[in-house]
């Protein structure tokens, strides 16, 4: 018992230390923004590598997320005897508010967050980051700023695609598998669609993107001990990003969707 408590305390201290480190890196990132134009080539490179190259993954995930949402919703509707004309309403809300931003962000954390940590972690253990510093190049401006900015802007961009593709997936399964006509599904979707939901989803996605970028860079910067250390940093990066995405998603729900 005492050992478990000690271990829990140890993890608690480590977690608080990491949050402090991530906050410090965030401050350095903000300060580096004054040299944003100097890094424009690096930023565009990352926008492509991080964002555009994630598009196929997001499209595949979204089409199945939309399809399974429609299928499960129809199954529950039939179970409680609710009319299927509300299928478009229910799926549309779920996709735009929660499923597209959260699942896209988690998939992005797996692909991009892990990739950024592995890349920067390898640079750290092979002394490439030290080499940058030795040449008088600020590694936060050169490495962190382009990756965090690309992540911050590309997650909302990908969520727009995810929203669209998931709705198409839901529509297809509704027509083929649930026997709901396209006009009935789309009428329901149109009736429930609110621009504010869509925008809130994109704001959330931006915050998630920032979390993935900054956590990925922080873990990469602090990797040590060779291949094993880089592997551990990569795992930690995905775990911390995913946990923070879910915590912040809950905070957004409390702020944006008040019950009274």
């Amino acid at each position: 018992m005492a050992n478990s408590l000690q271990e829990l305390g140890h993890y608690g201290i480590k977690f608080v230390g990491k949050l402090g480190g991530i906050t410090m890196l965030t401050i350095k990132f903000i300060l580096s923004l004054k040299e944003i134009f100097r890094s424009s080539r690096l930023i565009f490179e990352q926008l492509y590598l991080i964002g555009v190259k994630s598009l196929p993954l997001i499209v595949i995930i979204s089409i199945f997320v939309g399809a399974v949402s429609a299928w499960q919703a129809a199954y529950q509707f039939k179970f409680i005897g609710a009319p299927l004309r509300f299928l478009g309403n229910a799926v549309g809300k779920a996709v735009v508010i929660e499923l597209a931003p959260v699942l896209s962000a988690i998939a992005f954390a797996g692909r991009v967050g892990a990739g950024v940590t592995a890349e920067l972690g390898t640079m750290r253990v092979t002394e490439q980051i030290d080499a940058l510093e030795s040449m008088g190049i600020n590694p936060v401006r050169y490495l962190v700023m382009p990756r965090v900015l690309a992540s911050l802007f590309m997650v909302p961009f990908l969520v727009i695609f995810a929203d669209f593709v998931a709705i198409v997936g839901a529509l297809l399964i509704s027509i083929v598998g649930v026997d709901v006509s396209s006009s009935l599904f789309l009428d329901g979707f149109r009736n429930s669609f609110k621009l504010s939901d869509f925008i809130n989803g994109l704001i959330k996605a931006g915050v998630f993107g920032f979390i993935i970028g900054i956590v990925g860079c922080y873990e990469g910067f602090h990797a040590k001990g060779g291949a094993q250390g880089v592997g551990e940093a990569t795992t930690t990066s995905v775990v911390i990003s995913t946990v923070l995405i879910l915590i912040f998603n809950f905070i957004f729900a409390l702020i944006l969707f008040r019950l009274q």
Binding site: R38, T126, E127, A131, E133, S134, M135, I137, N138
Partner: protein, 251 residues
């Protein structure tokens, strides 16, 4: 009191519970070629990294050209680092960049040169290290010796006043190692730089050093000319330079 160009005063550094440097004191004059020797893990590279504040001391201070490194603001530190060039143990080339881009990166980022000037300087430096046909290759396509030479070309790209070498011959065959030693000597003579070499390769140390310093147990064990090192009675130094398993050095 006259200060050396680089003054290391009572330097202490620990990593977790392991105390690596326990009060190193050393002065290095301008234009010197000094070699720091010692066992693997004795803190030679740690000491080298302190000279450009890649690591911060736990205690003590480093003064370079009358600037206390701990007091420098970010911009001042960048300017000071630009007066140094460093060859890393594994060369630390950027995987995603070509040889030419690696060598020219510091120049490009300094924004003081046009593309044409950078290309000219890069070719000049690659020629100095004897690499004239690898400009467009990526680091993964180079041998260990070629990587070190590219690292060296990158280190001298902005005409530094001080060159730091971290284990320049480690992992190289004896012939390539000797070529690197010749390069270190040539660059020292041609560029009139201060050379600080960290190594445990004694052949290399005796070849390039004007002065040899040995680190042992976190402190300077001996500081003298190569001749003084060769003839010393200090049993710790003797065991190390003769490469004997038995002796006072605890492994």
């Amino acid at each position: 009191m006259d200060l050396s160009f680089i003054e290391i005063e009572n330097l202490h550094k620990s990593f977790d519970s392991q105390q690596v440097l326990k009060g190193v004191n050393l002065g290095i004059d301008k234009g010197e070629s000094i070699v720091i020797i010692g066992q693997s893990g004795c803190g030679k590279s740690v000491l080298l990294k302190h000279l450009i504040r890649l690591l911060e001391p736990d205690e003590g201070r480093i003064v370079v050209d009358r600037n206390d490194l701990s007091q420098l603001k970010d911009k001042e530190l960048i300017h000071l680092r630009q007066r140094f060039g460093m060859l890393f143990q594994s060369a630390a080339l950027f995987d995603s960049l070509t040889v030419e881009e690696n060598v020219g990166l510091g120049l490009r980022e300094s924004r003081l040169f046009t593309d044409k000037e950078i290309k000219k300087i890069v070719n000049e430096k690659l020629e100095m290290v004897g690499l004239t046909d690898a400009n467009q290759k990526k680091p993964a396509q180079l041998s260990g010796g070629m990587r070190k030479r590219v690292g060296l070309a990158r280190a001298i790209a902005n005409n530094p006043e001080v060159l730091l070498y971290d284990e320049p011959t480690t992992g190289l065959d004896p012939i390539i190692a000797d070529i690197i030693d010749e390069l270190i000597l040539n660059l020292h003579q041609k560029l009139k730089v201060t050379s600080i070499v960290v190594t445990h390769d004694m052949k290399s140390a005796f070849k390039v050093a004007q002065r040899i310093v040995m680190l042992y147990d976190g402190k300077v064990e001996i500081n003298g000319t190569p001749e003084e090192i060769k003839t010393t009675d200090n049993q710790i130094v003797r065991q190390f330079i003769e490469g004997r398993a038995k002796g006072p050095i605890k492994v």
